[in-house]
Amino acid sequence: MDKKFLDNLTDEQKKLGFRIFDLILDRVLERAYSGFDKKVQEEMQKVFSSGDNKAKEDFIKKNIPNMKDIFEEEAKKAENDIKIQLEKQS
């Protein structure tokens, strides 16, 4: 993925990219959050309600250490789901 590709995107396509980003992140969160016990879930709510970016970063590193891998897996699944939906629609 090079910068040239990003430069070629229209504003609409960038917006669509951000929407896909949200969709994938929702799935990553769902997976992580459902695996947390009540205490960690509460801690997450507390940390992300604060303005402390370092605390948020530390929380992610500690509790979702394989976030990039999960994100990659969910990105592939989401891509597949969208392709299936496209086939249904066309």
Partner: protein, 133 residues
């Protein structure tokens, strides 16, 4: 000014094998892709157990939209993670746009074949009718 030859030449339809990223970006059917993304997002969103407010705060934290611009100025591991995730997303976007374009090209061929088949049946029907007389 266009010559007579240029005016009479019909543009060739692109083959899915020769699609380049730039072509995809220009020609992909946007509304089709937007609808598909929205349907998939809604399907999953309905079942979510993550509190909506928390989900939004985490998204804001990682959002490439908010962090890309400041990435050059602030060297933070969080921002670089956000960027890596962002690039993965745009790879997905490129694949979806390519796929939708190929799908449309394929469906177009089927449409033509179906129309041709219908026309042929009608033509054959008239011929058969004539033979009977």
């Amino acid at each position: 000014m266009r010559t007579e030859l240029e005016l009479n030449t019909e543009p060739e339809s692109p083959s899915p094998d020769t699609i380049k990223p730039a072509d995809v970006v220009l020609d992909a059917p946007k509304s089709l892709v937007v609808n598909a993304v929205e349907v998939v997002a809604e399907q999953k969103g309905e079942k979510s157990i993550v509190p909506q407010e928390l989900g939004q705060k985490v998204k804001d934290f990682f959002s490439p939209e908010k962090n890309w611009e400041s990435a050059k100025r602030i060297s933070s591991p969080v921002i670089s993670t956000g960027r890596v995730l962002g690039f993965m997303v745009f790879k997905v976007l490129l694949n979806i746009l390519k796929f939708s374009k190929e799908l449309i090209a394929k469906r177009g061929d089927v449409g033509f074949a179906e129309s041709f088949g219908l026309g042929k049946d009608m033509f054959d029907y008239n011929q058969k009718k004539e033979k009977k007389h």
